[in-house]
Symmetry: C2
């Protein structure tokens, strides 16, 4: 059947925790909390057709469709829609911006009602667990007792795994993609260098920059480092090789190679859509995340959900061995788990770019899960 885009969508907002504040993993409390979220498709009467999409580090609630007037759709538009992998003719798809983010949910750039100023560094440190606990409030609010599936790539996959650990009884299935049970020291190292780049920017001002110049150079640098890790050596070779911007070397410190110009463009355009403090908080949440060594099933229970674990061969940021370890941990709890390693040269970005094979895998997996209810 023909795939169709979702038309115009609007971001919605759900607030909670004004009285009953959220207790964070750090022991701090936070409230009130607002989550920005979008939904696609319709929740059925039995409320058994809901799928929660979890976004990656720099993502947001706008996973599919078009905001009014926009020409660019949401970040996973090719995979969510009519007759697409997450088929909105049949399923009700939800995506919310994470706690600590800067896409409309409560985070360091939002106003602290106590001071009427942006939180800045007075925002408490949050973890992947805290993000998931906030999402749980949204799912409760929507009246959904059991999710047909939770799915996401990269940090989205970490949230998937945290849902498995925190609320296993609420899941019929889960799809962790290009992710890990914990960051390796190399992953932590890349995050830390990016954080240092932001904090070294004299405009950062210990996070108190909202009414002044923003730490744009630091944030752009952080994003440039990130981008190198999102691509693969071979995808860079294909896209750029050693192509020059001009005919000859400049014999100056200017940009000579196309790859340099591309990184600079990606860095500087990022500062228009992302908050530097959110970058610090969310990378720290990823570094803290650790569901290795049995922590995926903290009560030692058997796994009841079905699992589709996806990795990409050229992904060196979240290499396949980390997904294989997820599958192994799931199998140790007798889970119904399928591990798929997709041949791709796109590196970590593949979870956003390898649409066809991912779609085939996901569509069949979701439909099968739904039929078994």
């Amino acid at each position: 059947m023909k795939e169709k885009n979702i038309d115009v969508v609007e971001t919605k907002y759900f607030s909670f925790g004004k009285e009953d504040k959220l207790v964070l993993e750090s022991g701090d409390t936070l409230g009130p909390i607002t989550l920005a979220y979008e939904t696609y498709g319709e929740l059925n009467e039995k409320k058994d057709n809901a799928i929660l999409i979890l976004h990656a580090f720099s993502g947001n609630a706008h996973a599919a469709g078009f905001h009014s007037g926009d020409k660019k759709p949401g970040w996973w538009n090719e995979i969510i829609g009519s007759n697409k992998a997450f088929n909105t003719n049949k399923y009700f798809v939800i995506c919310s911006n994470v706690l600590g983010g800067c896409g409309g949910s409560t985070g360091p750039s939002e106003i602290d009602p106590k001071t009427n100023k942006p939180y800045g560094l007075s925002f408490p440190m949050i973890t992947i667990t805290d993000m998931v606990n906030a999402q749980k409030k949204l799912i409760d609010h929507l009246g959904i007792e059991k999710l047909l599936s939770v799915a996401g790539g990269s940090m989205g996959g970490m949230q998937v795994l945290q849902w498995v650990a925190s609320y296993p009884e609420m899941l019929r299935s889960a799809i962790p993609i290009a992710t890990a049970l914990k960051h390796s020291p190399q992953q932590i190292a890349f995050d830390e260098v990016a954080r240092q780049a932001i904090m070294a920017d004299s405009n950062w001002q210990k996070g108190n920059y909202y009414d002044k110049a923003h730490p744009e150079q630091g944030l752009a640098l952080a994003r440039m480092i990130g981008h190198i890790t999102y691509m693969s050596n071979s995808s860079m070779e294909k896209k750029f090789s050693r192509k020059l911007k001009e005919k000859n070397y400049s014999f100056s410190l200017d940009i000579d190679f196309e790859v340099e110009g591309y990184l600079k463009y990606r860095g500087t355009s990022f500062v228009n859509r992302f908050d530097a403090n959110s970058y610090l908080y969310i990378t720290k949440a990823m570094d803290y995340f650790d569901l290795s060594e049995g922590k995926l099933f903290p009560n030692g229970q058997a796994a009841t959900a079905r699992f589709l674990v996806i990795a990409f061969q050229s992904d060196w940021l979240y290499p396949p061995y980390q997904s294989i370890e997820i599958a192994r941990q799931l199998k140790m709890r007798h889970a119904d788990v399928t591990y798929c390693e997709i041949a791709s040269s796109f590196g970590h970005d593949a979870f956003l770019l390898e649409i066809e094979e991912q779609s085939r895998l996901i569509k069949h997996f979701i439909d099968t899960t739904h039929k078994r209810i």
Copy 2:
């Protein structure tokens, strides 16, 4: 036979080009030029026992032995000395700081005799070819017509290859280690991000910082990025895993993991021994370097020197496929070439750390080359 360290050594200086300036690849001219260099062992009467060691990006002329009062020896001390791989009982070993460097050779931090101030960005852009042309003047000055060998790792290996391209008649053998005929876009990208980190530091002041605060934060950041690429995922795992500095997470933006503290230490200690402008100039020289597609033999001649090409399995900055390509290009010119891939978990740093196996390979190769004279 028992290996022995070289005792106290002194750095020497050779100056040239006061009248007869060096014509650079860019077309600019530069002079006078001073090269800092050290020698170990004795040049024999026939002057046929000289080996030129080329240093890597952040290296210097002090390859072996101890400077008076120092507890730390030169950077390749384990491989240069009495009965070591480069056996100073038999051979005369030379190492010079590259043109553009900051270890005593003429570079952006040295005084421009025209202005009596440091060159800063008025220093002309230099290339690997220019570095080698300057070294050639030093070898001429020492009265050596033919080198027994040229050897070096990383950027040192690029200089080895440039010697092959520029002065093939002066070489009996060559040992390029953990290097490449050209930087891939990924290698260029890492260099460019490091350069951007330096230039984003408000203390950089377009290179004009020598009498003020130096761009230490930017330079430290650049080095941190570099260090991640010098290690391997597995060497980081072995060295740090997810070990914490304190007992628990700080739940702050402070350093939590040992790997973060290590990188920060390596970054901040680097600023005491390296110049930010040299970082910019030398990385640009590496990015410009390109001896691919036959340019290793620009006159189409057959290779006459013997070659030992060494790579390390876990080196993802200069992966083995790049050394295999060097060997292939050499074989296409009917060279006597041996390619050795050493099993190591140390990543790119292996050329400084995998002493035993490298030493066995190099020692036998050099001795055989010498016997064949």
